[in-house]
């Protein structure tokens, strides 16, 4: 039940982009067409799910026994950077088509706030390994949902008469703002209504 709550919470209620503004740079930068948006979303989901478990293991297996909790930021970013590099190499070897689809987005993910953000949140929320995995997965899916919606909106905006100075990024921000308003509809009380454990 907690896992279902985590999925709903991080995909809809606490959508990282539209509610918490994590990962806004790729959201605006890579959302010009829906194909790239899907690729970026998939690559990110893949990475957040893996790194959530790995950073959890590093924190509880390495930092806590040696009382080095204050090094979590430094340790996590290193774990994330090396995981991304490793995943890239593995995918290139095992599945060239998948590499072709996700490859170019992988290096961008190292500096994506969502990946480090969810790693830190997992520790903050005292999730266990399985819950961390699903929190990471859900964060990635939430990102994918938002970026696909955004890219569809932007593809249509290309054909609309937008005032000159608003063309490009400003109108994208305004559309994102309106989307964020719509996402306000997903309230934390949704979990209570579904009889699921509450999260914050």
């Amino acid at each position: 039940m907690t896992i279902l709550a985590i999925l709903i919470f991080y995909i809809f209620i606490n959508n990282w982009i539209l509610v918490k503004f994590l990962g806004l740079c790729p959201f605006i930068g890579v959302s010009k067409n829906s194909e790239n948006a899907l690729g970026m979303g998939m690559a990110l989901t893949f990475v957040t799910a893996i790194t959530s478990v790995l950073t959890w293991a590093v924190y509880h297996g390495l930092l806590v026994p040696f009382h080095l909790e204050y090094l979590e930021t430094l340790a996590f970013i290193l774990v994330i950077a090396s995981t991304v590099q490793f995943v890239e190499m593995v995918i290139r070897k095992i599945s060239p088509p998948l590499y072709k689809a996700l490859g170019i987005y992988l290096p961008l993910i190292t500096t994506n706030c969502v990946v480090l953000g969810i790693a830190l949140i997992n520790i903050d929320q005292k999730f266990n390994a399985l819950e961390s995995f699903f929190a990471g997965l859900a964060s990635g899916l939430g990102f994918t949902l938002a970026i696909i919606l955004m890219s569809n909106i932007r593809e249509r905006l290309d054909y609309k008469p937008v005032p000159g100075s608003f063309r490009g990024m400003p109108i994208a921000f305004i559309s994102a703002g309106l989307m964020a308003l719509a996402f306000k509809g997903f309230d934390a009380s949704m979990l209570t209504n579904l009889h699921l454990p509450a999260l914050s």
Partner: protein
């Protein structure tokens, strides 16, 4: 995909990125330009559009905006100084991991300082404080400027960019807080709670401004405004 793109999230590729002119000595006017470009011409938020996550998320209160801006300025200044003084030592093939280690060490330092001396601000900034590590503006400046320029120029660039970012944060949080709550929250002292009440706005708050949607909408309106301002200033020259 080149590393330049990696650090800057592909989004500022159409923007002109000033890489300075190497290690050549610059005149006094050049030095001043390195400092001031962060405010208008290469404003990190509105023109280069980097480092948005903390800018939009913590800007619900002026005090948070100011705190975040100053913390980022600290990191930006020292990371630029350290990276530019090590620019001949760090091998090119591993420069990104090396930069990340330098930056996250600085962020850990400021996090520990805030936890010790300003726990309220640390609480308010929450997860966004450690996330300065992945703030693209810091890695972006290291990659685009400190890598090629002298320590002195990089220090000025870091300070200018940081203060420019602080200015943006204060501007955005001022608009959001005044419209959304009708207050201006500054740091509390012993005999003052640090909150200025703005008459009229407190009575009819525009609550969408303090919600996440308000930040995105405001950003959409401020960007063209800023662009127009910069064009005007440039035309005057």
């Amino acid at each position: 995909m080149s590393e330049q793109e990696l650090s800057c999230h592909t989004m500022n590729m159409e923007m002109p990125m000033d890489q300075g002119n190497g290690t050549e000595a610059k005149g006094k006017a050049g030095k001043i330009k390195e400092f001031t470009k962060g405010f208008l011409k290469e404003n990190p938020t509105f023109i280069i559009v980097l480092g948005l996550c903390p800018t939009l998320s913590v800007s619900t209160q002026v005090s948070n905006g100011l705190g975040m801006g100053l913390a980022a300025t600290f990191v930006l200044f020292f990371s630029n100084v350290i990276i530019s003084s090590l620019r001949k030592v760090i091998p090119d093939s591993i420069h990104i991991p090396a930069y990340i280690v330098i930056i996250s060490t600085l962020v850990t330092l400021i996090q520990m300082y805030l936890q010790a001396y300003m726990p309220a601000l640390d609480e308010a900034l929450g997860v966004y404080l450690p996330l300065i590590v992945v703030n693209c503006i810091i890695l972006g400046r290291a990659e685009a400027f400190a890598k090629y320029n002298t320590v002195e120029d990089s220090a000025l660039d870091g300070l200018g960019m940081g203060l420019g970012l602080t200015m943006n944060l204060v501007l955005i949080s001022l608009i959001r807080e005044v419209l959304g709550h009708g207050t201006i929250t500054l740091f509390a002292t012993k005999n003052w709670d640090g909150v200025i009440h703005v008459p009229l706005f407190g009575k009819y708050p525009v609550s969408v401004m303090v919600a996440s949607a308000g930040a995105l909408l405001l950003m959409g309106y401020l960007m063209p405004l800023f662009k127009a301002l910069v064009d005007k200033v440039e035309a005057k020259k």
